[in-house]
Every structure is written in structure tokens, then in C-alpha cells.
């Protein structure tokens, strides 16, 4: 008996969702991050992010170090904005110890932190361009400018990436001679670079077509998800910890807080671009106000700092958002507990809601727009 093959009618075709594994070693995931995408055709239905590949236990390691030694681990949480994370930690320790930091050290810290914000956002523009498919030019231009800033940091601290320069009570050593001239030069170069990136990307029709209107987030959702930093401001929420809770000497500078309107991917890019310009403004003002000489460290600081018992939560604004340090001291030279609230972790938690319903190619862009640093997510 022969049976003839009969093609089933179209409505009888059974379709199932397909799982696509992106990562953990995939250049588009910005580190070691795994996304399990469930796709229906080309459309993403579900995202299952898998994190923890970079977990080093920085919080626990810090409990075994004295307050100065743990700065090295702060560098390694957010390896694109090391000065900002160091600043958050150092401020928490200083607040608990009740230290009054010399003026010059405060200005040096702010200048370096803001330059670091610019360099971190350069990294974003470069990597984001690559995510979209503009491989060569924005990536190379961004890295060129970032290189100039990193050279400057290397001259001051001696390291290219893991600076270990801020200390509770000031900075490790005074900046080398010619700091201000070099800083002005680097700033001018960075500004040129910002305009280059602006000219290359902002009005590029392909770029705009891919980004505008992609995964808009409402301000209510953003607050409920705990987004912070440029992700939150792109949704139109004017919240910047440098303004909301001025720490260090940020209340002395005049700068704007850029906000977006739609909360889509394009707004996130625009907010970051504008933030770079505002950071450059802050550096310029700080350079005009910085005392020419003076101590850069609290006088009579001992190498081993002993904190009184107590606890503190210090939050600062890093390029990725609210970076919180929760420090519990029970006396002695080591923290009893150090908890790091990393902004990229909270921002990443909204990935599922943001990318569901979009195409697979757009899921990569949405992930890129979060500007994650996996070392900071996993800690």
C-alpha cells in the first residue's frame, strides 16, 4: 500500500518558539554575559539573562582588607569608570570617619572623575556604534579620544586602567607638574572628539532609523524598575545625584542635567552625549577654581585607618547610574560588611521587559544601550 505525501494545510502547521543562546563569549554582550533569547520567528518573546561569570566576590574580599587595600577592588568593579567608583568608596569611608578632605584633593578628584565619565561614555559611543553595525569609524574615533584621556591618567597615577589613586583623606600623591595645561589639552581633544561622534552618529539616517522609537520606557516604569543614571534620565526623569544630593564639591559647579523625552534607545545615546559635554564644562570650572598648591592629604593620616562603629550608605553618580556603597563598621581597621549597589545590575534587570516584542537584532542594540559593565554587575 502506498501513501501519498500530503502537505498539511497552513493553519495546521505547528510552530514552536526557538531558543537562541547569545554568549557568554559573544562580542555583542560587552563582556561575559549570556542571554537566552526565546524567539518566535524574528521576534523576541522572552529573555533569560544569565550573569555571574565574572563574580569575584569583591564585597567579601573587601572584608578581609583594611580600608586602603579595598580601593583596588573598587577599581575592578566598574573598569570603565574607576575613578568614579573609587570616589564613591572613599567618600563613604571618609563620611564614617568624619574626615575633612583638603580642597585641592577634592578638586583633583572631581576633575579626574569627570574626565573618567567622558572616557566611559566614549567607550559607550564606540561600542554602541559597533552594536548597530557601524563598526569602524565611531569605534576607532571613540577609542582615539579615550586613549588621550587614559594617557593623561597614566601620567598622574602610573596605571592605565586600575588607578588606585584616591585614598580615604585625599589622593595618594600630588599631581605632576603641568597638570592644568595637560588637562586643558586633553579636555580640548575630548571636546573635538565629542563633536566628531556627534557629527558621525546623531544625524546618520541609518543610525536614527535603527534607534528612534526602539523600546521606549515610561518614567513610571523606569522608577519602578530601579533604573538610574542616563537610562533614567532618558525617560525624562531629571534625577542626578550630583544635583539631588550633592556630594564632594559638586554644589560649586554650574551644569545642566540632560534629559530625554521618549526613553527610547536614541534618547539614551543623546543623553550620554550631552552628559559628556556637561562633564567637560565641570572640568573646565574645576580647573579655574582649583587651588594652586596645598596639601592633598589629611594631615597626620595613619596608614591603617580605624573607623568608629557605625554604618553608612553613600551613593554617587557614576556614568552608569547610582553607585551605592553600604559600609558597616564594628570598629577596627576592616569593614564588617561592604555592599555595593551597582547601577548596571539594576539597569540590566529591565532587559526582559525592554526587549520583549522587538527583533533579535534590536535586542543587541537594547543591551548595548544599557551600557553594562559585567564586572560591575557580578562584582
Amino acid at each position: 500500500m502506498t501513501t501519498e505525501y500530503q502537505a498539511p494545510a497552513e493553519h495546521e502547521l505547528e510552530t514552536i518558539d526557538l531558543n537562541i543562546n547569545v554568549g557568554p563569549q559573544h562580542p555583542a554582550t560587552h563582556g561575559v554575559f549570556r542571554m537566552i533569547l526565546t524567539v518566535d520567528g524574528e521576534v523576541v518573546v522572552d529573555v533569560d539573562p544569565v550573569i555571574g561569570y565574572m563574580h569575584r566576590g569583591a564585597e567579601k574580599l573587601s572584608e578581609n582588607c583594611d580600608y586602603r587595600q579595598a580601593i583596588g577592588y573598587q577599581d575592578r568593579t566598574d573598569y570603565l569608570a574607576q575613578f568614579n567608583t573609587e570616589l564613591g568608596y572613599v567618600l563613604a569611608v571618609e563620611k564614617l570617619a568624619g574626615l575633612e578632605v583638603p580642597e585641592r584633593a577634592e578638586y583633583i578628584r572631581v576633575i579626574l572623575s569627570e574626565l573618567n565619565r567622558i572616557s566611559s561614555h566614549f567607550m559607550f559611543t564606540g561600542a554602541f556604534g559597533t552594536d548597530i553595525g557601524l563598526f569602524g569609524t565611531p569605534f576607532m574615533y571613540s577609542f582615539r579620544e579615550r586613549e588621550t584621556i587614559q594617557d593623561f591618567f597614566e601620567e598622574i597615577t602610573g596605571e592605565r586602567m586600575m588607578y588606585n589613586y584616591f585614598r580615604p583623606g585625599g589622593v595618594a600623591w600630588d599631581v605632576p607638574e603641568g597638570f592644568e595645561e595637560r588637562c586643558r589639552y586633553v579636555l580640548a581633544e575630548a571636546r573635538k572628539g565629542i563633536e566628531d561622534i556627534d557629527g558621525l552618529m546623531t544625524e546618520n539616517e541609518v543610525f536614527v532609523a535603527r534607534c528612534r522609537g526602539l523600546s521606549p520606557v515610561s518614567p513610571e516604569d523606569a522608577i519602578n524598575w530601579g533604573l538610574s543614571g542616563p537610562m533614567l534620565r532618558a525617560c525624562g526623569v531629571k534625577h542626578d545625584l550630583r544635583r539631588a544630593e550633592p556630594y564632594s564639591i559638586y554644589d560649586r559647579f554650574d551644569f545642566q542635567i540632560p534629559t530625554g523625552t521618549n526613553g527610547d534607545v536614541f534618547d539614551r545615546y543623546l543623553v550620554r552625549l550631552e552628559e559628556m559635554r556637561q562633564s567637560a564644562l565641570i572640568v573646565e570650572q574645576a580647573l579655574a577654581q582649583i587651588p594652586k598648591d596645598g596639601p592633598t592629604m589629611v594631615e597626620g593620616m595613619k596608614r591603617i585607618l580605624r573607623l568608629p562603629p557605625g554604618e553608612i550608605y553613600m551613593r554617587t553618580e557614576t556614568p552608569r547610574g547610582e553607585y551605592g556603597i553600604y559600609l558597616v563598621s564594628k570598629g577596627g581597621d576592616k569593614p564588617y560588611r561592604l555592599k555595593i549597589r551597582s547601577p548596571a545590575f539594576s539597569n540590566l534587570s529591565a532587559l526582559k521587559a525592554m526587549s520583549a516584542g522587538n527583533y533579535v537584532a534590536d535586542a543587541i542594540i537594547i543591551l548595548g544601550s544599557i551600557d553594562i559593565v559585567l564586572c560591575e554587575v557580578d562584582r
Partner: protein
């Protein structure tokens, strides 16, 4: 009109076409390094007193110092001084902590190895690295002070260095890489039973 933004971007790249290249052709052409760059750790045996302050300052615990009191004058013999560069994160806290400037930041930055265990450097390897640095830098320490030249130093045992048989004058004075024997290997001159680091075929960093 569609395409104006792209055209503007193209113009921008065209402008950059006539600029000097920003990159270096690395192995042939080397970027100048800032003076205080923490490229590596150099340990100068003649300055070290064996106080272990560096080991206490290290967050990773990668410095091992083992000393024994010298019977003659009560100073400390440095029996072992080892840095595990596999753990070291080049934070420079040991450099800040050392009261005698015996450990200083500087030296070769291109010291990648084929064998991971070769990054465990004992007294011999560290001295070879430090002497090589001094030889190529006009016998000046990275902090700018003048170091004693080898001919000015008494190289007899226990004189130039407080350690027993520590300073090896043949190491670091000739050009090219010098093989450094590891514990248990042929040519190992260290006294006592030293736990062998998990490596074999160690070579000194070539300059």
C-alpha cells in the same frame, strides 16, 4: 532629504584622512612611558631590611618574606623574598608602604611568559630583574637615587646582601635572557628546603 547625515559623516572621515596616524607600530615603535608608571615591581636587595611591611600592605598577599636573625649584628637575613605576580594586581601599595624604598615601581612591562608559573618570582629572579633595570638605567633607581655599581659592591657572601648567597653577580650583567633555576632544579643555589613553586622551565624576563 535622506542621506545628508551620512554624507556629513563621510566628510568628517575625509577630514581625518589627512591627519597624522594616531597609532604606534608597537614592537618597532614604542610609546614613551610616564616616569611614575607602575609597569612592574623591582625589588632591590641591597635596600631591603626584611621588615615585611610590603607583605602586610599587600591586599592579595602575594609577597612572601622569610627572615632569620643574623648572629653577628642582629639584622635580619632575608632567606626568602618572593613575589607571586600571578596574584599581583599592581596596585602599588607595597611601594608606598616600604620605608626603605626597597621595592619600587618600574622595570619591564613586556614580561609576558609562556608558562603561567614563571610569574612566580623568587629572590633570584627579582634580583636579576632589578639588576637588569639598573644596568640599563645608568645605575639609578626608579625614584631617582643613585644605586651602587656592581664593582663598588662587596659581592662576598653575606656582605653585599644580608641573605645567604643571595646576590648572583653573573645574573643580569650579561646581555640577553638568563635562565633562572627554580627550586629543585639543577643550579638552584638557595639554602634549605624551599617548597617548589608550581612551575618548571622558568626564564628570567628578557629585556
Amino acid at each position: 532629504m535622506f542621506g545628508i547625515g551620512i554624507a556629513r559623516g563621510m566628510l568628517l572621515t575625509l577630514r581625518h584622512l589627512f591627519k597624522q596616524p594616531f597609532t604606534f607600530q608597537y614592537p618597532e615603535e614604542r610609546r614613551p612611558i610616564p616616569e611614575n608608571a607602575r609597569t612592574n615591581l623591582l625589588w632591590f636587595e641591597e635596600r631591603c631590611t626584611g621588615c615585611s611591611t610590603c607583605a602586610q600592605a599587600c591586599p592579595d598577599g602575594c609577597i612572601l618574606v622569610q627572615t632569620s636573625p643574623n648572629a653577628e649584628d642582629g639584622t635580619l637575613n632575608i632567606d626568602r623574598y618572593e613575589i607571586d605576580f600571578r596574584l599581583c594586581m599592581y596596585c602599588g601599595l607595597c611601594v608606598e608602604a616600604c620605608p626603605y624604598e626597597a621595592i619600587q615601581a618600574g622595570g619591564p612591562y613586556d614580561d609576558a611568559v609562556y608558562d603561567f608559573g614563571a610569574l612566580y618570582r623568587d629572590k633570584h629572579a627579582l634580583t636579576a630583574m632589578a639588576q637588569e633595570y639598573l644596568r640599563t638605567h645608568d645605575w639609578t633607581y626608579p625614584i631617582g637615587k643613585v644605586a651602587p655599581k656592581p664593582e663598588e659592591r662587596d659581592l662576598r657572601l653575606g656582605k653585599a646582601s644580608r641573605g645567604v648567597g643571595a646576590f648572583t653577580p653573573d645574573v643580569g650583567l650579561g646581555g640577553g635572557p638568563t635562565p633562572i633555576p627554580m627550586a629543585g632544579e639543577k643550579g638552584d643555589r638557595r639554602p634549605g628546603n624551599v617548597a617548589p613553586p608550581p612551575s618548571s622551565g622558568n626564564r628570567a624576563p628578557s629585556s
